[in-house]
Amino acid sequence: MAATVNKSPKLTMATGQLSGERLVELYRTMVLSRYLDERVWLLNRQGKAAIAASAQGHEAAQVACIEATDPSKDHYLTYYRQFTAMLALGTEPEEMLRSFLAKDGELMSAARQFPLHGAHPRVDLFNFSNVIATQLPQAAGVALADKLRGSDAVTIVYFGDGAASQGDTHEAMNFAGIHKLPIVFFCENNRYAISVPLSMQMAVDSVASRAVGYGFPGVQVDGTDVVAVYEVTRAAVSRARAGKGPTLIEASVERLLPHTTDDDHTRYRSAEDIEQMSRRDPVKITSETLRRRGLLSEVEDEAIHAEAKRRVNTATDTVDAEPYPGVETMFDHVTSDSARKRDGIS
């Protein structure tokens, strides 16, 4: 099979198969994500959220990718930066905050794990660990199971440019290629792995070029362009659902904030670099494009912002007041046999 690296054909925004209404909906999620994300950062500064990784700059890529999938059956293996994807899949702001504040009733792991790690109770989204790239072989296994049982579900696995260097990434793509698995490898390339720039991560400037060695297509796409990302993902998902095998999508995005709340990117990014990447803010770009295309008025845009702000405030008030999980449940679910708990002296 010919494997090619294509620059995404459309880098300008066109409505394509997405209705104007859906586009505005996606934008609404992006704005909500942005406000909530900012709030989480603030809660960290207030000492309430122990750590956070932000999706600021990745919002367009994430909403567009989810939009091209079918949450009723598809599988999502995320990593820590899938903040916007979580919202796009219907996670409530309260649920998100509970995760960051490690409060009782936390959605994905009962607050045993870092925010947004664990498994989602309503869609098949999971993120078992902080350990970079482990999700890729797992995703291949998920897709293999679907293939064996003849399901037409598709597995979407997310990872960063840094994750592309791990052996697990190679092993997973190689296997997916051999077995033509129904899987989409979705790389959010923000050109940094914490402080390590892409040029120190790989000698090529495209993660997608790796697909050549695995016998399936690799596509680069502008990750600030909702429609472009939607289109390449839709094509990849259809391909996978039709049994034609994997696609590697590389969405070029910006990491607008430092790596996490523990990081200070001025230590390693030049002022110029920071200035330049700020111009690729997908929320702004999407707003401008929607307005330019007459899909969104200034008033509507303001209403979207106001609504997002309101939801974030309400959620903050609710969750801030909630208790932490007590200690009695910490022994649950170590193994299926609860008798296998062995109490320490603690």
Partner: protein, 327 residues
């Protein structure tokens, strides 16, 4: 009852479980047309097809990651690591990931996968086909680790492993595969995980052991009985969770213990057994806790005399019994 070797029991059990439950799929290197390097899956690809008997690329992290992914998506994968020595690349997927899926999702996801790991020495395997790899697995909360030594236990524990909703590591000693024969009921049965078994009752001292060493211990105990020492032999069978009740009961009763293992001693199964005894049998012990293990060198030299010097043997165990009896 029919007699089988360990490898025959393993093969028949896998076949039976695959017939019983179609979500059981096999993943591993050379398990297809080759039938596995130990022929554990001989004839399987013919019976179950290449969909359920998957020859993977040469990548152990992949094998275990795939198994984990398939497990959380409705399958019961049974992975084979060709030799235990090659399990190290997969540690991240096993210890870091699979072990914590249930805990880290508060039970939203489970990982019912089994990993068969042929291990152990005395087979002229040198440094990279002889290793014992139980330590880290036995240490890790969330994992289950079994190490059957007889054909009967190989069948019963492998069936329990495959049917378990947790990730289970099955340590099969390569030297027992063809060496050890025993009676194996034809019908379906399981051996419960987490239970040690007294393979030889005795009153003067307890040998705690597992794997190939069980057989050497039984031989040594037999020889010791001719010298008038009545040695009990406790087969751990499961290395996580250890059956500390059985250990404590036996050692408290006999008052003396010799822990025998093939693995090197520092921070090992023998250490934990000693710790359990030190915590629970203190008032019943008549002698120091003793261990018989190989020396602290990388397991194990390829050259034949050195390999023999490395491995515990019935003779070395007998000598240790005699010494302990006199304490």
């Amino acid at each position: 009852m029919p007699e089988q070797t360990v490898i025959e029991a393993v093969r028949d059990t896998m076949r039976a479980e695959m017939r019983r439950d179609e979500t059981v799929i096999l993943l591993g290197e050379d398990i297809g047309n080759r039938g596995g390097v130990f022929l554990a899956t001989d004839g399987f690809i013919e019976e179950f097809g290449a969909d359920r008997v998957i020859d993977t690329p040469l990548a152990e992290s992949l094998i275990c990651g795939l198994a984990l992914g398939a497990a959380v998506n409705g399958m019961r994968p049974l992975a084979e690591i060709q030799f235990a020595d090659f399990v190290w690349p997969a540690i991240n997927q096993i210890v870091g990931e699979a072990a914590r899926v249930r805990y880290g999702t508060n039970g939203l996801k489970t990982a019912p996968l089994t990993i068969r790991v042929p291990y152990g020495g005395g087979v002229r395997g040198g440094l990279y086909h002889s290793q014992s790899v139980e330590v880290l697995f036995a240490h890790t909360p969330g994992l289950t680790v079994v190490a059957p030594a007889t054909p009967y236990d190989a069948k019963g524990l492998l069936a329990s492993a495959i049917r378990s909703d947790d990730p289970v590591i099955v340590l099969e000693h390569k030297r027992t595969y063809r060496l050890v024969k025993g009676e194996v009921p034809a019908g379906d049965y399981t051996v419960p995980i987490g239970r040690a078994e007294i393979k030889r009752p005795g009153s003067d001292m307890t040998i705690v052991t597992y794997g190939l060493m069980l057989h050497y211990a039984l031989q040594a105990a037999e020889a010791a009985s001719e010298q008038g020492f009545d040695v009990e032999v406790l087969d751990l069978r499961t290395l996580r969770p250890l059956d500390s009740d059985a250990i404590a009961e036996s050692v408290s009763r006999t008052g003396k213990v010799l822990i025998v293992q093939e693995d090197t001693p520092a921070v090992s199964i023998s250490s934990e057994v000693a710790a359990i005894i030190g915590e629970r049998c203190f008032f019943d012990l008549d002698a120091p806790i003793t261990r018989l293990t190989p020396p602290e060198i990388p397991p194990m030299p390829f050259s034949p005399l050195q390999e023999a010097a490395f491995m515990p043997s019935p003779e070395k165990i007998l000598a240790a019994i005699t010494k302990l009896a006199e304490l």
